[in-house]
Amino acid sequence: MSSDSQETETETQTGTESGAGATVELADGVEHQVAMVMDLNKCIGCQTCTVACKTLWTEGGGREYMYWNNVETKPGRGYPRDWEEKGGGFESAEQANQEDVHGEREVGELPSAEDWGRPWEFNHEDVMYDGSDESLRPQGPEPEWGPNWDEDQGAGEFPNSYYFYLPRICNHCTHPSCAEACPRKALYKREEDGIVLVDQERCRGYRYCVEGCPYNKVHFNVLSKKSEKCIFCYPRKEAEGPDDEVRPPACATECPPQLRLVGFLDDEDGPIYKLVEEWEVALRLHPEFHTEPNVYYVPPFAPPQHDDEGETVGVERIPRTYLEELFGEQVHEALDTIERERERVERGGESELMELLTTTDMAEQYRLEAFE
């Protein structure tokens, strides 16, 4: 991304900064926008979110390979493999010489079955029930790639290697390029909450959405021949369970370290609005794709680098340049803000930001009934 377009991005975001009565910009025709903040400092890579999502939505029927929620190691090639290099999204308005929020749509590349990773069949029956001495392992051709193939690999050299985990779901973007890519308008943003869904009646399996999403968060079901994706657990949001309770997405509620905040971006009393719009410490992943995600990340800290003697040296372990690649230039200010507020608390002071990031109050963390 050029520094010019980054400046404009920053201006746009500061332009919506909270002031007296300032409001966030939502997609046309959307009343409220669901949003999620994930604090990457809390993620332990346990994949409980992944399994919660999988058991709810993608266990079978052509969905075996799908992880609507995945957790990948960064630096790493991700899921699907090398998704960050497959294109999609939009040019910047500057690139297209337009006075708009973004430029022309960029056509991406369709990931292969190998990029996603084939669902492995294991010899559970033999090992668990039939007394086989074989080890439990994937059957068929020797796998050469799969989700989390490069788990914990990271980058850097001992003693200063580094990695962190990046949980990913559909970003339910304000400008979803998946929806724009569909010639049948089978993908749409719900008016009431901005959740992006695939109309299974309209979908004819063309997969322009799959290659159009720069985050590769739309999947193709070979059996139904239709596209499918994260639905932000909307039936849980709509209290369709047996207890009639409104529940946040399963990936959020099942998370052991409770790293996710769920609510509406335009709920000005909620923590998401405060972290995104006021404190500006929750950032979009790859803002240069110009789809304006509504999943935000608190960037990760790591202990500083060590020298050969094991002594701490004043160099950050996760290079800022790498974090800037992921979260844009705003990451510097966000990390500085968090550091400043953390030191304030360490000195015995109070910090609203630290309160927001460390709350254990579920009612604060999950605010899906703010507008009811």
Binding site: S112, A113, P183, Y208, V222
Partner: protein
């Protein structure tokens, strides 16, 4: 050569030329451009549903050129099938249309035709026949419009067939209770796909094309090559053709008149030229 006027031999020659010029064209099986002939009650009609059956060998063929459709989808100009051979036959109960085209790879679930395991990047070969929902209307070639809808008979290689209604690109919607059946075969690099539509349908003229011999029926064709990732608007399509199903199914009556007039004109020119040469 004398100045006595035309000799008897010359007159006879002129008469012969006039006769041949007037009659010969009507004896040739001339077919108007864009017509796809429809054979009525061919022998072995019960075997028409077999895509590679012998019954089709006795049905006249029309070769129709295809070109990339105009569309806003990516790579719309990248299509690979350049022509389709169309044969059509009508029985008491049904109209059969067989499309045949060359495709080196069968992208299909069809038993015996798989060339690879379908996965997330597999696109299937497909074909479609487009007709005006209302045969008196003239829809745009690109799926018609909301005022001039088209009825589409669609086949794709997982061996599915659909009857669709469309009113412009991106609007195809399945019609309930389809009146179209398909069967397909792939042999030696060639697809044969037979579409069978029952002549009598409940809602003809609204969502479904009327095929009852009242008028000619416009028709356009489309083919998708799955291994070239062709789908949606990335397809090879024809111009509008027509089935001569209206009165005078032998061809429009004016064709014979035009041939006679043209033949006579040619003959007159020849005779005048001969006479002129003799006089000089």
């Amino acid at each position: 050569m004398t100045d006595d006027g035309p000799s008897t031999r010359t007159v006879l020659l002129a008469l012969a030329v006039v006769t041949v010029a007037a009659v010969a064209p009507t004896l040739v099986a001339a077919r108007p451009a864009n017509e796809i002939p429809v054979e009525e009650d061919p022998p072995d009609a019960e075997a028409l549903a077999e895509p590679a059956g012998d019954a089709w060998g006795r049905v006249p063929a029309a070769d129709v050129a295809l070109a990339s459709a105009e569309s806003s989808v990516p790579n719309a100009e990248d299509t690979s099938v350049e022509a389709v051979t169309v044969r059509a036959a009508q029985t008491d109960g049904s109209l059969f249309v067989r499309l045949s085209w060359d495709d080196a790879t069968a992208d299909a679930f069809t038993p015996g035709a798989e060339n690879r395991t379908p996965d997330v990047t597999t696109f299937w070969d497909a074909a479609a026949i487009q007709l005006p929902a209302n045969t008196s209307a003239h829809p745009g070639i690109a799926m018609g419009s909301d005022r001039t809808m088209v009825n589409v008979w669609y086949w794709s290689a997982p061996n599915t067939s659909q009857e669709l209604l469309a009113g412009g690109p991106g609007t195809t919607t399945p019609v309930g209770d389809p009146a179209v059946q398909t069967s397909a075969s792939y042999e030696d690099g060639t697809w044969h796909v037979v579409f069978e539509r029952t002549l009598q349908v409940d809602d003809a003229g609204e969502n479904r094309t009327t095929i009852e011999g009242e008028r000619d029926v416009d028709v356009a064709l489309a083919v998708w090559n799955g291994s070239n990732a062709e789908r949606s608007g990335q397809k090879a399509v024809s111009e509008w053709q027509y089935f001569p199903l209206g009165p005078g199914a032998e061809g429009p009556p004016y064709a014979t008149i035009l041939w006679i007039v043209a033949g006579l004109a040619i003959a007159v020119v020849i005779v005048a030229t001969v006479l002129g040469v003799q006089r000089t």
